[in-house]
């Protein structure tokens, strides 16, 4: 049975974690970060400082990072850039595109295109993406042309 125990400032940790999980679960909604601080019974300043000390980002920065990460997943799943933008909670395509480019290092459309290309390569030749030693041990090389050589 899991044992309960206390450590210093346990209630503060629990509230900051609850706020983080709230963002994880509601990133696509219009989240009012002031309300999160209120619900955690913190002053806004105190809440932001604690959140940043635990997660390395302010709640606002963290929300943006979660939205961009989810957008990457949607683009990989084949959604269009504008669908991805609105599905993760952005109101403006231009602000989404600018933020995506800054955080990911390439435009959302280029990111989607590169991933689709890779998916096609994986579908065409899946064993090229698996270390040969694993493929051999699993017996995946049998009935494949993976070992073909010019000899």
């Amino acid at each position: 049975m899991q044992q309960e125990f206390d450590y210093p400032r346990v209630y503060l940790y629990r509230r900051v974690v609850q706020a983080k999980l709230f963002i994880d679960n509601h990133y696509a909604d219009k989240i009012d970060l002031d309300n999160i601080a209120d619900e955690a019974y913190f002053s806004k300043f105190h809440f932001i400082r604690l959140f940043k000390s635990v997660y390395g980002k302010t709640p606002h920065q963290y929300l943006k990072a979660v939205r961009i990460e989810k957008a990457k997943q949607l683009l990989k799943a084949g959604k269009t850039v504008s669908d991805a933008c609105f599905l993760v909670g952005f109101d403006s395509l231009s602000s989404f595109s600018g933020l995506f480019r800054r955080m990911v290092g390439q435009p959302a459309s280029a990111y989607a295109e590169a991933h689709q290309e890779q998916q096609q390569q994986i579908a065409h030749k899946p064993l090229a993406f698996v270390p040969g030693c694993y493929a051999y041990q699993h017996g995946w090389l049998e009935n494949s042309n993976f070992e073909e050589t010019d000899r």
Binding site: Q18, K20, L21, Y134
Partner: protein, 144 residues
């Protein structure tokens, strides 16, 4: 000269369940999920800040690699919690503990002060266990 570890295995009993545990609970990043036949997939994940280390969620089932007796013995040992799979580090062990606990991760030991620093132990969905430690446990000042 060996330079880096790039791929390592975590033997799991069910790949679907392991996917949910490592991605949705631990927050690892999916690297590859490639079907390799009707019941097998090449499934690898990485710790969020370590994209160049792939953990293979390696299914233990009767196959070319695991004859029936071997698979059954290995599954029994994994379920018993015999295998420790390493140390996972985090910035804040108390916050990470609270978050994982809220997501239903089973802890064998809550964050506890040991002579080498603060440590918690938790199990994955198969029964493998990990040590969770804050990054500063590994500083030279702690003598580790």
């Amino acid at each position: 000269m060996i330079t880096r570890m790039t791929v390592t295995n975590i033997h799991v009993i069910d790949q679907d369940s392991a996917y949910d545990f490592y991605i949705n609970k631990l927050g690892f990043t999916l690297v590859d999920d490639i079907p390799m036949g009707p019941e097998t997939r090449w499934l690898t994940v990485s710790p969020p800040e370590q994209p160049d280390l792939q953990l293979v969620l390696f299914p233990v089932k009767v196959s070319k690699m695991f004859p029936k007796e071997t698979a059954e013995a290995l599954i029994a040992l994994i379920r018993q919690g015999v295998f420790g799979c390493g140390v996972l580090t985090c910035n804040d062990i108390f916050a990470t503990y609270e978050e994982l606990k809220a997501k239903g991760v089973e802890f064998i030991k809550p964050p506890t002060k040991e002579f080498y620093g603060t440590e918690a132990l938790f199990k994955d969905d198969s029964g493998n266990y990990f040590s969770l430690q804050p990054l500063n446990n590994f500083s030279h000042e702690n003598g580790v």
